[in-house]
């Protein structure tokens, strides 16, 4: 069953990535070209998933939507990891009072989740892809600090680190050569789970009109547009909804699968 989890996760993530890649090379129609004559067509051979209220091909828009979902995910996870991992490493080796202060700060930060931060930032800088990336990334920094610190402390208490330290190797080098490689997988799990959260947040923000601006298609915006024409064509909701859920499910399963591989004891318990 655990193998199944990882397998389904990898498949879904690969599917979303494939959609984004294909969209750069080929889409059946121009995803932003308005064709008034083709308004609200039902799915058929010409338009696989039908068209929206502006006559735009929904399948093309779905493919292109995968791009902003992935780019927001990659950049925001990157921001969170680039800040959170070094800070976590530093705190793990620093004095105890520093750890207490930083951990308490991460507690407080959790009261300001990604979406609320993004709504605030969208007010300051206007809604855009960038504000969404920054807000989601910033909101995920605390978790990276916590995970990195916890993992690093475990490695730092091991004999080989003590040996390296007593051989006179400086702290930053032990951190680089011993600690980081040993907690790499742990950070990978965190990155995967954060990625899922980023997809959720990006969809909600673009639904609210606070992330990527039109005419660029996003899954969240497609959901908003589908909702506006729910009475005329309820089926339109289905595909962007499946796309968002599939992306989130993929990264969540990937994270869970990786975590179980890391910790064999969990495999027995489940």
């Amino acid at each position: 069953m655990k193998r199944l989890e990882l397998g389904v996760g990898v498949t879904l993530v690969a599917l979303v990535a494939a959609m984004a890649v294909v969209s750069f090379v080929w889409t059946p129609y121009d995803p932003i070209r308005i064709v008034p004559a083709d308004r609200l067509l039902r799915p058929g051979p010409a338009h696989l998933l039908g068209t929206d209220a502006f006559g735009r091909d929904l399948f093309s828009r779905l493919l292109v939507g995968a791009r902003s979902c992935l780019s927001v995910g990659v950049i925001s996870v990157g921001i969170a990891a680039l800040i959170g991992v070094p800070v976590g490493l530093f705190v793990a080796q620093g004095p105890r009072w520093l750890a207490r202060v930083v951990l308490r700060a991460t507690d407080i930060a959790q009261a300001l989740p990604a979406l609320l931060l993004a709504i605030l930032l969208a007010g300051v800088f206007g809604g855009s892809t960038t504000t969404a990336m920054v807000a989601i990334g910033a909101a995920a920094v605390p978790q990276f600090i916590r995970v990195t610190r916890a993992g690093a402390r475990q490695v730092l208490s091991s004999d080989y680190v003590a040996a390296a330290r007593s051989a006179g190797i400086p702290r930053w080098r032990t951190a680089w050569t011993h600690v980081l490689p040993n907690i790499g997988a742990l950070i990978g799990v965190q990155a995967s789970v954060t990625f899922a959260m980023a997809i959720l947040a990006e969809a909600a923000l673009s639904y609210l009109g606070l992330a990527t601006q039109p005419p660029t298609p996003t899954w969240g915006r497609m959901l908003k547009e589908a909702q506006d024409f729910l009475y005329l064509q309820p089926g339109q909701v289905l595909w962007p909804a499946l796309a968002v859920a599939g992306g989130v499910l993929g990264f969540n399963l990937l994270g869970d699968g990786l975590r179980d591989r890391l910790d064999p004891r969990l495999r027995e318990a489940a």
């Binding site: 300001l112 007010g123 909600a204």
Partner: protein, 316 residues
């Protein structure tokens, strides 16, 4: 226990101060001059300056922060620049909608998650448990607002059973109120129930390996009874902690859900205020939400000590 409560109280107050500074600084960075927006582009610079002085915008940041905090302590969150109404009067009528939505969704989520998590733990090696876990995993992946739109498509558009949008105050029409909240509450609870089910499941699985559970089974208790008598209290600890941590995301989920169902709650007010750069309203709402989350989490920590006295000792 008394000292640990006092220490938590101190930490709570410090957390509030830190959060208020951050929120104040972000909100003050809102671009565009409120005075200019209020008076329009044709107004003379002198008029704009006069209005800035009247609103107190010409004074230094620390002064404005202290004024705002001082007001908050008296329950005065300032006056909306645009509507001229006190922020607290704008928030009050909308607070009810958001609290009903959040509270009912949490209650529903717990009512669904506890039995499901228990079943999933007891049947963790067979098909039943697998199905529950799989459904929870999928449920976690569907954002609340997407669930909301799908529910509207099915129950409002297709079946005509429930209203798609709008809110009816409880006092004017209790039945209409309930009908207007069914879909948003279910949409919001679905995600939370999925998250909670996973935690309840693993909490109960932990119980299954404990000696007291084995003893209870050995003296002839059925699995269900042993679970209820011993498992529930142990699971409740992790359930309460997770609920506290999830609260922030439920509130944010409620903000988005309010947009889906056009409910006149805090979320609607917040998004309007952000669009109009009504800084004090934005500050007030975000601060209120953060205070609420921090307060509940402080209470959760105290509750955790009450549920399991060992927790207090560990931390101290």
């Amino acid at each position: 226990m008394a000292s640990s409560v006092a220490r938590r109280l101190g930490v709570f107050v410090l957390s509030l101060l830190a959060a208020s500074v951050v929120i104040f600084l972000i909100a003050q960075a809102l671009p565009g001059d409120v005075a200019r927006i209020m008076l329009g582009n044709e107004a003379s610079q002198a008029d704009v300056d006069a209005l800035r002085a009247q609103l107190g915008l010409d004074r230094p940041l620390p002064v404005r922060y202290l004024e705002w905090m001082g007001g908050l302590l008296h329950g005065d969150a300032g006056t909306s620049y645009l509507s001229g109404a006190p922020v607290s009067e704008l928030i009050a009528p909308r607070l009810g909608v958001t609290l009903w939505l959040t509270g009912l969704a949490l209650v529903l989520a717990v009512l669904v998650a506890v039995p499901l998590g228990m079943v999933a733990a007891l049947h963790r090696r067979d098909a039943g448990g697998f199905v529950v876990s799989a459904v929870a995993q999928v449920g976690m992946a569907v954002p609340a607002f997407v669930a909301g739109i799908v529910l509207v498509a099915v129950f409002s558009v297709r079946l005509h059973l429930l209203p798609a949008t709008g809110y009816v105050p409880l006092r004017s029409d209790p039945l209409g109120w309930a009908r207007s909240l069914v879909l948003p509450v279910v949409a919001l609870a679905a995600v939370q129930a999925s998250v909670l089910t996973r935690y309840v499941r693993s909490a109960f699985i932990d119980v299954l390996t404990e000696d007291y559970y084995r003893t209870a089974r050995a003296v002839g208790w059925t699995r269900g009874l042993a679970m209820l008598r011993h498992g529930l209290r142990n699971a409740s600890l992790s359930l309460v902690t997770v609920l506290g941590l999830q609260l922030a995301s439920v509130l944010v989920g409620a903000i988005v859900i309010e947009q889906v169902f056009v409910l006149p709650g805090l979320g609607q007010l917040l998004l309007e205020a952000v669009a109009q750069k009504d800084v004090l309203v934005v500050q007030g709402i975000v601060m209120l939400l953060v205070v609420f989350v921090l307060l509940i989490n402080a209470l959760v920590e105290v509750a955790a000590v009450a549920l399991d006295p060992r927790v207090g000792e560990e931390v101290a």
